[in-house]
């Protein structure tokens, strides 16, 4: 086992017995269970971990958590390549392979760093002022280079082999964050009897307590609390789970990460997105440490103080031998002491003139050198920090201190992200120089550092209180459980915060505010001078806070800088808007299992399996998959449908029409009801008859058409188009429940209850006689548009003699689960007639020959009259849409209305979407109409079409030009009545 130079021999929360192999750019390295990628790299001496976005400056880790702006890696290979992953939150796993980003040719030797010579050019807003070039489209030229330079990691165009899931969970009380405040809150809420879910993004519970030494009272308290919580049966504890967003109605979105490498073949999900509904929510999300702003504050080796402590105590990594800790607050003193105790030579520079007695004692006990009134002005070093310059208010001369680790602590920024997601603005508290939640929605509670309560015991008590109140809000009031939990032994660490001093923009060296997006104090000055002074303008002009870290370490410093220029206090300037997700979340995780074939449910007809087994090809029709054509007829749709058409016109075919919407309309007022919704009359439809009907929207466009049959005085069976079935049903229910509440009608959607099949062709009757011989199929018994319920062997069959194809046809409906048997029965018994199935393509072509409207003719823009159906409208009754149908432009004679078209050019093709012109017209503009549906007509031996044309059939017999400039085609056609086959309908009635 290799010894890393910076790893302590003992201590930390790593398991030295479980080494983990990983690699950086192919170089084999080793860490331990309990390491993050960041801690393992640091232990191996890798301190240069990335290049910055704009200037390609070398960068090291700044933090040890989700706020990390610098240490982003591309993990994995092939389809598992994942760019922009923060090493600080990546738990090390066996075989992990990482690549540093944004350096070319490599992060160690980055030639792009030359861009920093051109730095003046890259000041805030430079894009807007330049690159316009001499020509209108010059930007497109520059953009190529800018795009290549922009972006952080590189993604691959390979499908993701991993699996994700989504879940819906519920809890009485959700506690976000497992620091001392969160642990206490969960404990108290559970004590009161509430079902508690405690979520923590880290792999371990404890939050900031994990950075304490293992022999500390804090750690003992943590351990006791955890075992108390684990003994409570209704506490659900989840680590590696991040609350990513707070939404309306106490909904929290969370993402849970799989530990290590999940195996998709065994169903393991890489990430699970949970939508959680909670009775009450406690936010115990802690606080981020703010960086200090001084020249060169981005040099590798400059780091947040809390991070250095975390690496030391949690991962047993010492990051420097000569350490300077620069701070404005008490918390850093503990870190300084711990670093010193671990063997480093530590100096603390505190900006304040005086500090708490306890801090000084702590420093004294740990042999930390103290310099008060000391503000860092500049870090020295390029690829690693070598010294720090600082100034005091008394002397004008700068002092210098050599160091190999420079820790900074500029105060604390409570994590107010989640509470702000629903629009609550944070409030500024001057006493701690920080933003805290402005208020809480009902049932929301805050506790600990996120509310600005930095003292440990106070945070624990606040957590407890929040836990009890949350439980109470969720309905658990229990007087018996006022017991308090124990507090950690000893006195709390001091936690005062002084004001943060920013380096003036004139100071030497770049002083970074947003490290990832390379926004410096100078950029803020530029934005100020140019008037981009509101925090939102500042953000957008400089891109501040817009990186992968969303400004977790930079927003507050930036606001302070701008507030300073404007002479305003930070309450007035306010913050930018906090938006979900709190930390980036995989798009695959959001999609969960709704991927591939599961993207949207597939609806299948009761005959689907038969089609599959018998060589059908399928086509999407909304959610449905419908049989498009059958292998028996040809290898492609264009070949097959013609043979299928011929079969129907010449003998007999059978077609699955189960997808049609079916609605049972029953009740004493059923007739009146249908009279109101259809343009034509259904009240006078005799029992035993069916009728084609059209219904309109209120605005008089056609909503749907279909056949409705009457089986009893009070019972109708309605069919709708496949596409509009859901819409029609909802509409009918709407009318009955909101407008016509006096009608006694019940509507039942029975689409799924019936299998439907159409037997069509001159031999259709023969086919039925063969297949169902016991019944009278004669024209007398069942004439055209007749309907009847029959019984075959005790099984009810519903027969409608209707035709879409124009041939003699019968629609048969049977209980859905018996559909396949009937279908097979028909095919077998009538086999001698040559009966075969035909698909949607042939069905559509047959109806074009017959001139029936469908598909693109019913496009929500056409009216009854546009479709040539105006005469269907009954004049002696009113129907939905009849009022607005009278609007002048809908009645205008020049409206585009339905025509038939015949191709006049042999070898010419009519195409859907061609634009129609009169022969003398200039072929430009919007034409006089267009082609909606086209088919080759085997009957006529040419292409025929339906279309909409200005004035419609007034122009019957005239020629038109069908322009299809997309293919440079102009084809001549003739306007004809839209009924190409059997215009008088004789074949239907035989």
């Amino acid at each position: 086992m290799s010894r890393s130079p910076r790893r302590l021999a003992t201590g930390g929360r790593i398991d030295r017995a479980r080494p983990i192999n990983f690699s950086l750019e192919g170089r084999a390295l080793q860490g331990f269970a309990g390491d993050t990628l960041a801690s393992a790299l640091l232990a191996n001496g890798v301190t240069l971990v990335g290049r910055s976005f704009k200037y390609h400056r070398p960068r090291g880790f700044m933090s040890a958590g989700v706020e990390e702006p610098n240490g982003l890696f591309t993990l994995g290979a092939a389809g598992r390549t994942t760019p922009n992953v923060a090493g600080t939150v990546t738990d090390l796993y066996e075989g992990l392979s990482a690549v540093r980003q944004n350096g070319w040719p490599s992060v160690d030797w980055d030639l792009m760093a030359v861009t920093s010579w051109a730095a003046p050019l890259l000041a805030a807003g430079f894009y807007y002022k330049t690159f316009m070039g001499p020509r209108r489209n010059s930007w497109m030229f520059y953009e190529r280079f800018i795009r290549r330079a922009a972006g952080l990691g590189r993604a691959v165009h390979l499908p993701d082999p991993d699996r994700y899931e989504t879940q819906h969970l519920f809890a009485d009380v959700l506690v976000v964050g497992s620091g001392p405040a969160g642990l206490a809150a969960a404990w108290a809420a559970a004590q009161a009897g509430a079902h508690v879910m405690l979520v923590e993004q880290d792999r371990e519970l404890g939050g900031s307590l994990l950075s304490a030494r293992l022999d500390s009272p804090e750690e003992r308290w943590r351990a006791e609390m955890l075992s108390a919580l684990r003994r409570m049966p209704h506490v659900d504890i989840r680590c590696r789970m991040t609350a990513i967003g707070l939404y309306d109605g106490n909904t929290v979105a969370l993402v849970e990460r799989h530990q290590g490498r999940p195996d998709p073949a065994r169903g393991e999900a890489r990430e699970i997105v949970v939508t959680l509904e909670a009775g009450a929510i406690i936010f115990a999300t802690g606080a981020f440490e703010r960086p200090l702003v001084f020249g060169g504050n981005d040099v590798p080796g400059v780091m947040l103080t809390s991070a250095a402590r975390s690496y030391l105590n949690r991962h047993a990594v010492v990051l420097g031998r000569r350490v300077v800790v620069a701070t404005n607050n008490d918390a850093a003193w503990q870190s300084a002491a711990d670093l010193s105790t671990a063997g480093a030579i530590v100096t603390i520079l505190d900006q304040r003139q005086t500090v708490n007695r306890r801090c000084l004692e702590l420093a004294n006990d740990a042999s930390v050198t103290v310099k008060l009134d000391a503000t860092p002005t500049r870090a020295i070093g390029s690829r690693a920090v070598t010294a720090v310059r600082f100034s005091t208010s008394r002397a004008s001369r700068e002092h210098s201190l050599d160091c190999d680790l420079l820790c900074m602590s500029g105060g604390w920024a409570p994590v107010v992200h989640l509470t702000s997601h629903t629009g609550i603005k944070p409030r500024y508290r001057a006493d701690i120089d920080a933003y805290v939640p402005g208020e809480y929605a009902a049932g929301h509670f805050g506790a600990g550092a996120m509310t600005g309560t930095f003292a440990l015991s106070a945070g624990i008590r606040e957590g407890e209180r929040a836990g009890r109140r949350a439980a109470e809000h969720a309905g658990y009031v229990s007087e018996a459980t006022r017991a308090q939990c124990a507090l950690p032994a000893g006195e709390d660490a001091a936690c005062e915060v002084g004001p943060a001093r920013l380096a003036p923009p004139a100071a030497r060296g770049k002083a970074f505010i947003d490290f990832q997006n390379d926004v410096t104090t100078r950029d803020i000055a530029v934005a100020y001078q140019e008037g981009f002074t509101s925090v939102e303008h500042l953000k957008r002009y400089t891109t501040l806070g817009m990186g992968t870290d969303q400004g977790k370490t930079s927003n507050v410093n930036a606001i302070h800088a701008m507030a300073g220029y404007r002479g305003l206090d930070p309450q007035t300037t306010g913050t930018t808007t906090f938006r979900p997700p709190y930390t980036p979340v995989s798009i695959g995780a959001l999609a969960g299992r709704h991927v591939g074939q599961h993207f949207r449910a597939i609806r299948r007809s009761p005959l689907h399996q038969w089609h599959v087994a018998n060589g059908a090809m399928f086509i999407e029709a909304g959610l449905w998959q419908r049989a498009w054509y059958y292998g028996w007829a040809g290898d492609s749709a264009s070949a097959a449908y013609i043979n299928e058409m011929k079969l129907v016109r010449g003998a007999v075919g059978i077609c699955d029409v189960s997808t049609l919407g079916k609605i049972d309309v029953q009740g004493p007022d059923a007739a009146e009801f249908l009279d109101r919704v259809y343009v034509n009359s259904f009240a006078r439809l005799p029992v035993g008859k069916a009728r084609y009907g059209v219904m309109l929207n209120d605005n008089a466009t056609v909503l749907d058409d279909g056949t409705t049959a009457r089986f009893a005085d009070t019972h109708y069976f309605m069919t709708t188009t496949t596409a509009q079935a859901a819409e029609v049903a909802s509409r009918l229910e709407f009318l009955l429940q909101t407008a016509w509440v006096d009608l006694k009608v019940s509507i039942t959607l029975v689409t799924d209850e019936w299998a439907g099949m159409s037997i069509a062709g001159p031999k259709a009757r023969e086919a039925l006689q063969l297949a169902l011989p016991g019944h009278d199929w004669s024209n007398e018994r069942l004439p055209y548009m007749g309907c009847v319920d029959i019984d075959v062997d005790g099984v009810p069959l519903r027969i409608l003699r209707v035709s879409f194809s124009g041939e003699l046809a019968f629609e048969l409906y049977i209980a859905a689960d018996r559909g396949c048997a009937l279908w097979e029965h028909l095919l077998t018994r009538a086999a001698t007639l040559g009966i075969r199935p035909y698909g949607l393509e042939a069905l559509a072509a047959l109806r074009i020959e017959k001139g029936h409207v469908a598909g693109l003719e019913l496009d929500h823009r056409t009216t009854l009259d546009d479709l040539g159906l105006g005469k269907m409208a009954a004049s002696n009754k009113t129907f939905v849409g009849c009022a607005l149908r009278e609007r002048p432009e809908l009645r205008a004679p020049g409206r585009w209305s339905l025509v038939g078209l015949e191709c006049l050019e042999s070898g010419g093709t009519l195409r859907g979407g061609a634009i129609l012109f009169a022969p003398g017209d200039e072929v430009a503009g919007h034409g006089r109409g267009y082609i909606t549906s086209v088919t080759w007509s085997p009957q006529l031996g040419k292409y025929i079409a339906l279309g909409l044309y200005q004035g419609g059939l007034v122009h019957e017999g005239e020629d038109v030009v069908c322009a299809y400039p997309l293919k440079q085609e102009h084809v001549r056609a003739r306007i004809v009545a839209p009924a190409f086959v059997d215009p008088r309908g004789e074949r239907l009635r035989v």
Partner: protein, 408 residues
Amino acid sequence: MRHALSGAAWPRAWRSPQPKSSYDVIIIGGGGHGLATAYYLAANHGVTNVAVIERAYVGSGNVGRNTTLVRSNYLLAGNTQFFEYSLKLWEGLSHELNYNVMLSQRGQVVLAHDPLQLDGLARRGNIMRLNGIDAELLDRGEVMRTLPYLDYSQQARFPILGGLLQRRAGTVRHDAVAWGYARAASGFGVDILENCEVTGFERDGSRVTGVKTSQGSILAGRTAICVAGHSSVLAAMVGLRLPIESHLLQAFVTEPIKPFVNHVISFGAELFYISQSDKGGLVFGGHIDGFNSYTQRGQFPRVQAVAECAVALMPSISRLRLLRHWGGIQDMTPDGSPFICRTPLEGLYFNGGWCYQGFKATPAVGACFAHTIAHEEEHPLVRHFGLERFRQANGHDEYGLGNWTYKQ
């Protein structure tokens, strides 16, 4: 360029004046439309005594939160010319404003997943070509060559059959549009009044004579409403009801990555479109949340539904990570088309109802609305966009939406 090279800051982009007591024209709303209107009033009509009144900061509305797609692939007479005019104005805008708005004509592909959809695209493409607008119809193979990273596998729930490509379509840097127009308008003397909310109107009978604001009353010869999602709120202040419902549309951006998607791609199975910003984030959007709302933040199920579309279209996006999502309030109209017109009240002009499509229209709206205000008569390119159009017929229904504001 000189300022840029020297590294010195430019002067203030736009002045921050005190409101005057009256103006010739007041424009309510400092979004793209309001600012462009002010600019063209000054630049094209010499009307410079103008105030743009913005309740928050310039660009805080939809101009600053949209998915930046510009295109002119329209079908209906009226729309084709209007949106093509707009695209032409985009093509010269950076130079006109001396401000780089970063028009990036990377091309847009609209996909079709069933034959009817493909016919619909063909019709659209044919109309475009017949009006001098570039369009190409791609079959499945051509789509595969152009966009090799979409899902062409057996697993694809809605197979891709083809698409319509407009090469001149693309994206524009949204904030730069607001800032560029604000800067140029301010340069002409237009007052841009930020953090000033209009709370009512000054009236003299049926004539609107100015506005009440959070900073007091300001009078105007003509007053123009340009408030995007809040049109009804403003209209209610003068007792008007509009054919508009306000709906929430969400937008999404991923972490920045190296060039990954070149075109703007629009899925055809559901409303979903994606492009990559110059900064490297994939920017995408979908359907409105589906019920009216002024909350400017979305519902989580829509986030998931949009992510599902993203993966359905482009499986490799699965591992990329969502960085941020936000919402904007947009006016939805029964026919999906906007309004640019006079109103029943004298001195009051209205522009709104832009649904999903107002960003691409920004320059044309500015030019045509400015004309309408200056001439007290609608510009010929916007005559279809009147408030009264539903009294005659069903309006101007580009996508065949029926009459539903919330189903589009």
